[in-house]
């Protein structure tokens, strides 16, 4: 599974990173973000691409796992 560290990046960089990685067409990705806007935006993008989204929060940081 590809892991993308997008913590601390401002909008829309996390989504752009995710889009670039998703171009490889793998079945699972994980992205780390540290704010609500990035969490919502990356989750929405992944859902649009047909991925199932799972979110875990720990200490103000989010780990989103996208699977097909």
């Amino acid at each position: 599974m590809k892991i993308i560290d997008a913590r601390g990046l401002s909008c829309p960089e996390p989504v752009i990173l995710l889009r670039q990685e998703m171009a490889s067409g793998e079945h699972a990705y994980q992205i780390l973000v540290d704010n609500h806007a990035s969490k919502e935006n990356t989750a929405r993008y992944a859902e649009h691409q047909g991925y199932h989204v799972q979110v875990e929060e720990q200490d103000g940081e989010y780990t989103l796992t996208f699977t097909k």
């Binding site: 913590r7 601390g8 909008c11 829309p12 960089e13 752009i16 540290d34 609500h36």
Partner: protein, 362 residues
């Protein structure tokens, strides 16, 4: 919350914000200037004596309200968090030149919408330039442009900017003799709604913008980048609501709040090329900053010190614009202003190139 739900909420918020903007003009603000982040920060710079343009000096409570409204709601929603360290000085410089672009056009992206809603068709040139600026910024975003990551900071860092805004309010109410104010009839700085009304409107819009993440740049940017329409719907709702309210106010009051045409517009000029280039610079710089001036205020209320630095850059840019004769007036742009916009486009492009090709993402 589903996307459909989010879209309904941002449309409703945009309608409220547009109506408040229209009402603020009825209650005393300059024409088509219910809100203008660039103009209002410029007025605050003047009131603090950072520039001496006597016609634009006032502590605008709307700005204080926007930051505090965002701050209070962010704390309530547990979204407040101090962070910073993402190329702060680069952001300061970008903020300065975004202001130079805004003062060439005479308005931030928010006022651009309000000018259109008031029938000022000069803003169409601004809108065209704004979209082109966003397209150029998106070109770099797609190639990996980044100002690098921010880091968590002690909570005090995040609270300081909202505290500074509260201090401005204390100065305005408690020690106005320390400040500079435009004399009655002396220009846009003297036209304002009552302090409590402006503050309340700012608080409401700040909270709504925090909740919906409304951003005038983000709407067009996300549509181009991801075909995502949520933020653009907010942008469109502000326009539609302000337009309808302006038409209603024109019909039911003695004033004119919708005055279609190019000439005779308040706090505006008719030089299409420089209206275009001013907003091109503003849109370009705002994409590199990650949000419009309104969004920077809202983020600074959420504890983002990079955005707070950007706001300080906007204020410094306003002071520079008036001290060096860069700001346009109703008579048109100045020669110095044209040179500054060209320099701004060069500097912003250099920052974009260095942020894209100069260093690897960390």
């Amino acid at each position: 919350m589903t996307l459909r739900h989010e879209k309904a909420i941002i449309i409703a918020a945009g309608c409220i914000i547009g109506a408040l903007a229209s009402l603020l003009v009825y209650l005393g603000n300059p024409s088509n200037m219910g809100f203008c982040i660039a103009c209002f920060l410029r007025d605050i710079s003047g009131a603090l004596g950072l520039h001496s343009a006597a016609n634009v000096q006032y502590i605008r409570p709307e700005i204080i309200g926007l930051v505090l409204g965002s701050f209070l709601l962010a704390v309530f929603r547990k979204e407040f968090g101090a962070k910073g360290g993402s190329s702060p000085l680069t952001r300061f410089v970008l903020g300065m030149f975004v202001m130079v672009g805004c003062l060439m056009f005479l308005g931030c992206p928010f006022r651009m919408i309000l000018r259109l809603a008031g029938g000022d068709w000069n803003a169409l040139f601004g809108l065209a330039g704004f979209v082109c600026g966003i397209l150029v910024g998106v070109f770099f975003l797609n190639r990996g442009y980044s100002l690098h990551r921010s880091y968590r900071l002690p909570r005090t860092e995040g609270v300081l900017f909202p505290a500074l805004m509260a201090a401005l309010l204390v100065l305005l109410l408690g020690a106005p003799a320390l400040l500079r104010f435009t004399e009655a009839g002396g220009g846009p700085g003297a036209q304002h709604a009552a302090v409590i009304v402006s503050l309340a409107a700012g608080l409401a819009v700040g909270a709504l913008a925090q909740y919906t993440r409304l951003c005038m740049v983000g709407g067009i940017r996300d549509m181009i980048l991801f075909r995502e329409s949520k933020l653009l719907l907010g942008f469109a709702a502000v326009f539609a609501s302000a337009l309808v309210c302006n038409l209603i106010l024109t019909a039911v009051t003695a004033g004119t709040y919708f005055n279609p045409g190019f000439t005779g517009q308040a706090v505006a000029h008719t030089d299409g090329i420089w209206n275009f280039l001013g907003m091109l610079l503003a849109g370009y710089g705002c994409v590199l900053l990650g949000g419009c001036p309104l969004r920077q205020l809202v983020l600074s209320g959420e504890g983002n010190t990079d955005s707070a630095i950007t706001v300080l850059g906007l204020m410094a840019g306003a002071a520079m614009a008036h001290n060096f004769g860069l700001a346009s007036s109703g008579e048109g742009p100045t020669a110095n202003g044209k040179i500054a916009v060209v320099i701004g486009l060069v500097v912003v492009t250099a920052i974009a190139c260095l942020g894209t090709f100069g260093t690897k993402r960390k």
